[in-house]
């Protein structure tokens, strides 16, 4: 039985006069991986960034409609944006570790919420790094700079950093596009492993990647959701001609 975790209702988004997201109704199911695919400029990253209100940081951005997380509108005037971002974590296109130690990177989320007890921090740091499959590689150098890690390791550390907040949802914005094939494979396997713990929404340019890891696929084109459904179905019998053309590489 799959449960609906996030629903968007009539979501419209503009950057100044540029109408980017066209009245979207969209559902994310709990503890599943949902992939957002589509050609560049289709609005998939913008949609992703709407789920943790990251677009709030852009002054030109205007949003209408609702995004309900377990029935609560995250754009409600009473909603606490820091709370939203704690529940809905994000990993970015390029690894973006803070110029701090590995430990302090992962502990950041807890520290800003005032957690000072070392035993709690130690536990969460270890658990998060284990969950992100990087503990064995870094356990002996937790107190060295995170910038000394390789790109793939940095990205897994960023996943650990997001997991430390115990989010309900993890938003991944093309998390492997800056990585080599080996690191990419590792992160894909990690995603599949993580879906028992957290709901994943991933934007990817890599169609094959969406096919490999996701349960549901959403195809977006020019600000509209063209097709949504179980990945297997979307990839084998797409309903819309545009989905088929995109998946077969007619345009990209």
């Amino acid at each position: 039985m799959v449960k609906e975790l996030i629903k968007t209702k009539n979501l419209k988004l503009w950057f100044t006069d540029n109408y980017v997201l066209h009245d979207l109704d969209f559902t994310v199911y709990e503890k599943k991986i949902t992939a957002l695919i589509g050609p560049s400029g289709c609005g998939k990253s913008t949609l992703l960034r709407s789920f943790n209100r990251m677009n709030d940081l852009i002054p030109e951005c205007k949003i209408e409609g609702e995004i309900l997380l377990e029935g609560q509108n995250i754009y409600d005037s009473k909603a606490d944006v820091t709370d939203v971002r704690t529940k809905i974590g994000m990993v970015f296109q390029r690894p973006n570790p803070f110029p701090k130690t590995i430990y302090n990177n992962v502990a950041y989320g807890l520290q800003i919420r005032g957690e000072k007890r070392k035993s709690v921090l130690d536990d969460v740091v270890e658990k998060s790094l284990r969950d992100a499959w990087i503990w064995d590689e870094v356990k002996d150098r937790l107190h060295t700079s995170a910038l000394s890690l390789s790109g793939g390791q940095q990205q897994r550390m960023c996943i650990a950093r997001a997991l430390a907040n115990q989010p309900k949802v993890l938003l991944l914005d093309e998390p492997t596009s800056a990585l080599d094939p080996k690191s990419t494979a590792k992160i894909e396997e990690l995603c599949i492993d993580l879906k028992d713990k957290v709901t994943i929404l991933i934007v990817t340019h890599n169609i094959a990647q969406a096919g490999r890891i996701s349960d549901y696929t959403t195809f977006m084109y020019l600000g509209d959701i063209i097709e949504f459904g179980e990945t297997k179905r979307v990839f084998t019998v797409p309903k819309d001609k545009r989905t088929e053309d995109y998946l077969t590489g007619v345009f990209g």
């Binding site: 990251m54 704690t86 803070f98 110029p99 950041y108 800003i112 700079s145 997001a162």
Partner: protein, 288 residues
């Protein structure tokens, strides 16, 4: 013809570079050649550790300690004022102000940097000093306190514009990472943005320090001019630069007094040299 142009171009830039280096060595050489002869008459110990600066008395003495303290006091005072205000301004401009506010504030602060120091001195003498006498009941308004405020205002634009540069080069990705983890703007600024820009920020403090300790006109006008080790912030002091600039006109060429002023200049040079060296070595060393 083309080859000749290439050679000419290379030669011109080469000599331009050589010229600045020669000027540097020329200045250092003059300082030491004119400064060192003083030590034939005055011991290094007296110069460094005595606070009696009586260059024109019948029993001359050349203890530079009080002058050194004078310079240090007004410079530290200036930093106490300029560091929080300069950094605060930088954070406001880079992180908080909207683009229109930024366009207004930035050039105004840069304008502050363009005011000649003698104008700052006038402001201190004619406005600040009488204001302090009236309002905090001190006898003279020309003291460490006044000098610190005036020097502080003078170095605010140095600190704020250099810190602002450092803050605005912090990648957007780091801010997003912080916001994405549920941090507020304040937490993002204090825990991520400022620490990431710390090299440039500390660099701005050092630059401000160098500017304040070398400033001459302002301290001549508002520091009070008394060669004594201060016991309160409302005491007048005589910084190294004041002695050099004011007394040079009264000395006899080649006298001990004449040479002693060069020795003061060496002291000033060494202070700034050490600060710069310190920053180069510890701050700008690339972290592995």
């Amino acid at each position: 013809m083309k080859v000749f142009k290439e050679i000419l171009f290379k030669a011109v830039t080469y000599f331009a570079a050589i010229f600045s280096i020669l000027a540097l060595f020329g200045i250092i050489l003059t300082l030491f050649m004119e400064g060192i002869p003083m030590f034939q008459e005055v011991s290094l110990r007296e110069f460094l550790f005595s606070s009696a600066w009586y260059p024109t008395n019948e029993h001359q003495s050349f203890g530079a300690l009080a002058l050194f303290f004078g310079s240090l006091a007004v410079t530290i005072g200036a930093l106490v004022i300029a560091v929080p205000i300069g950094l605060g301004t930088a954070v406001y401009i880079s992180e908080i102000a909207g683009s229109r506010t930024k366009e207004i504030i930035k050039p105004m602060i840069e304008l502050l940097a363009g005011i000649p120091s003698v104008v700052y001195g006038l402001f201190g003498m004619a406005f600040l000093a009488p204001f302090l006498i009236r309002n905090i009941g001190i006898d003279s308004g020309l003291n460490i306190f006044t000098a610190s405020i005036v020097l502080g205002i003078m170095i605010i634009p140095i600190i704020s514009s250099m810190s602002e540069d450092a803050l605005s080069t912090v990648p957007r990705a780091l801010r997003e990472a912080s916001y994405g983890l549920g941090a507020t703007r304040w937490e993002t600024i204090t825990r991520v943005v400022i620490p990431s820009a710390k090299t440039g920020i500390i660099g701005s403090f050092v630059l401000g320090f160098g500017r304040a300790i070398g400033e001459t006109m302002v301290v001549i006008m508002v520091a009070g001019g008394a060669a004594q080790i201060p016991s309160s912030v409302f005491d007048p002091v005589r910084p190294l630069t004041t002695s050099i600039a004011v007394e040079m006109a009264e000395t006899v060429l080649g006298s001990i007094h004449f040479h002693s002023l060069f020795a003061l200049a060496i002291m000033l040079f060494i202070i700034t040299f050490i600060t710069n060296l310190f920053t180069e070595l510890f701050l700008f060393k690339k972290v592995k």
